[in-house]
């Protein structure tokens, strides 16, 4: 049965009417028209569909829409503030840390969650944190460099 589900999406309140067991990634991409969260595997393995749920990265393909009732969701579309890109976004551009770009939203949001807990990561910590995000183009080297660099810019997680 469709129910009314409320949450915050990219700092705006939304209410949708849907069966609570609908797939969250599908709802974000179709009902709510977003393009940032991507479908990569549908099984929680690749990280393309990553979003921030109450500031923590989660894999939206593994969630039901009722799970986000009352929560705050940020997708890649909501990361820039007033037109100013987030330091991670800037660092990905500056380091050319992407090729086809399909994994990029998931990479940036996973890194975002990681840096919020580990503001001054070592290279090894960054690699470990990103381990379960897949990139077929092989942008890994630059992604690691971009995240390390963004961490420095953010100087201990001020910009979030």
């Amino acid at each position: 049965m469709p129910e009314s589900i409320r949450f915050t999406l990219n700092a705006k309140p939304v209410t949708i009417t849907a069966e609570g067991d609908r797939n969250l990634l599908s709802v974000l991409r179709t009902d709510l028209g977003l393009t940032g969260p991507k479908f990569g595997c549908g099984e929680g393995i690749c990280g393309s569909c990553t979003i921030l749920l109450n500031n923590e990265p989660v894999r939206s393909c593994q969630m039901k829409v009722k799970d986000v009732e009352g929560a705050s969701i940020v997708t890649i579309e909501g990361l820039a503030k007033d037109g100013a890109l987030h330091p991670l976004q800037n660092a990905f551009i500056a380091h050319d840390a992407l090729q086809c770009g399909y994994c990029t939203p998931g990479m940036i949001l996973t890194a975002h969650g990681f840096l919020s807990h580990t503001p001054n990561p070592t290279r090894e910590e960054t690699i470990a944190a990103m381990e379960d995000n897949l990139c077929r183009c092989g942008a890994h080297k630059r992604i690691v460099e971009a995240i390390q660099d963004a961490a420095k810019t953010m100087k201990g997680g001020q910009a979030s």
Binding site: R22, N23, S26, V27, R29, T30, D31, G33, L34, T35, G36, P37, K38, F39, G40, C41, G42, E43, I45, C46, S48, T75, I76, E77, L79, A80, L85, Q89, F92, I93, A94, D96, L98, Q99, C100, G101, Y102, C103, T104, P105, I108, I127, A128, M130, E131, D132, N133, L134, C135, R136, C137, G138, A139, H140, K141, R142, I143, V144
Partner: protein
Amino acid sequence: MSKKMRQDQGQQEISLLSVTRRQFLKQMGIVGGGIFVYFNVGNLDAWSLTKREGFLNAKIPTDFNAFLRVGTDGKISCFTGKIEMGQGAITSLPQMLAEELDVSYDAVNLVMGDTDLCPWDVGTFGSLSIRHFGIVLREAASEAKGVLKELAGDILKQPAIDLGTRDGFVYVKATPAQKVSYAQLTQGKIIEKHLDTPPLKPHTEYAIMGKSMLHQDARDKVTGKAKYAGDIRLPGMLYAAILRPPAHGAELKNLDLSGAKQMEDVLVIEDGDLIAVLHPFPDKAKKALAKIKAEYTTPETGLDHDTIFDHLQAVAPVGKTTSSAGDLETGRGMAAHSLEETYLNSYVAHAPMEPHTAVASFENGKCTVWASTQTPFSTRDRIAAVLNLKPEMVRMITPFVGGGFGGKGEPGNQAVEAARLAKIVGKPVQVAWSREEEFFYDTFRPAAIVKIKSGIDAGGKIVYWDNTVYFAGEGGSAPIYDIPHSRTVIRGEWRQNDPGSHPFAVGPWRAPANNTNTYAQELQIHMLAAKAGMDPLAFRLHNLKDQRMIGVLEAAAKQFGWGSTKSADGRGYGISCGIDTGTYVAHMAEVEVDKNTGKIKVKRVVCAQDMGFVVNPQGAKIQMEGCITMGLGYALAEEIHFKNGKIFDLNFDSYQLPRFSWLPEIETVLVDNKDLPPQGGGEPAIVGMGAVLACAVFDATGAKVLQLPMTSERVKKALATI
């Protein structure tokens, strides 16, 4: 006005054009004028034509192939059937255009992969975009510049020879303040120009080409704005979920659609072999699909990922000799040591992060399809054939493609499926393959066998080389060393599915044939060096004559510091040399092998590449890094397991892509060779990855790992036979 240039005002001129071209200009919205350059290569000399010979001998057609417009706003538009899938053409093609036309990089707008706006193109693969298309593009730009100068000559009252071009202006060389902008020059005029062979700037005058440029599309990609096929949403659009067989060769015996039909808002379509459910939400379509009951019979072919190699050798066609020198018998007579080995390579998937996706919509009988494809034009033609439409009644639009690697070329089945369904239901339809469908219908890199018999004389010179390649194909199979007696025989190609050979589709995979051939040859070379008792670098240099290869090998050795340290226990150094798409490449790597577990850790990879003139050095290095990282996969882990047509690896749980923790130190070196026109850059650096790591494992342990990928089990098995 020189040559065949025609200048006119408006309609009269257009009426002289062929129908297609007239349509074309209409689609371009020619109001106001501009200069148009067609690349008509029909009357070029032989040398120019060979430059344009592409992959699979596909020639850039003799009709116009790309289309350049100098607009009345001074902006340059280039319409190309090439697509952007991460390789960076969207950045480097405008660089080339801006350079030749003397406009700023920002003034160039590239329209890619739209079959209504862009002239026919063979497709985006084989590192062709820069190597072949780029030359034509620059010539068109130079031609347009010539036209602009002649127009300016009339206004500035100076002969063209006394005019220069800079920043979108034509100026008088003696008095640079006297100038006229491209925008002014094209105002109110429609000028059509066919391409001759205009002069290109020498590299010494380059200001934009050769500079590192950041990816032009990066901002859209880090903000989620960049649209891929799945991001196209149309009003009333339905998402399709399609019934799939459990195995290749399976036949449908019983079908019960009632469960799906009972679901609300679900459309169930049965159209011959295409059985699909559609719903406004993709997850609901998926649920409906699960309600379909289907029984299949599956074939008992007895073929699996182990038996396939004997099978392929048994059914291989006679083949053809693709290179030979001297006389093998004589060579064998000269040998002091001989080495015969058989190398196996497994099926691997393309596995782009974006699965095949397409959206199709009909309007007034015309079908528009947005698809993730490397070949918009042949996919258009296939859709037209299947739907019995004229090709011009199908328009393909290619948004950003989320990785291709050769896997998103023909046959474009997802686009055909979307078009068929959209026609039946009369609404826009999106077909987005699941990861399981992506693996199941992938055109895998073919499993292959390479048999090399070779020998060296007492002085460490290779004296014969007898190479038979089964199903890998020809790329990279010709010996790169100076060998007096040799023969290469190719039995079965990578692209054609000889009936009865592979149990599923195979096709081009980043650097077709070359990964397999380079792996076999270079491991053979490394082992020959051991037989000769020589350092593997010294042995290679001793047997090489090709100066470009020696150049990249020495560059790699210098960066790597070859020979300065002796490898510690369990550590080893590897080397690989290769040639792909006109580019020379050498790899060196250090690995650590755990002899108990058979696990390989790659510590460091150095790659030196001579790719002629480098248009965008940063872009080139990114491609090299991508190749090295992706290449870790087929070297160490990637392999499709199957039996009786059933594919066991259908997602990333069992099919292992390279991950962050695999990342070695990567160092790339571009060997300066400015006088050679740009060569391929999207794939050369992947061809040596299997080879360099197998050589390093041999160096570390003495184990000959004769099958890729080098899984722990295979390494342990190889260690046990020492």
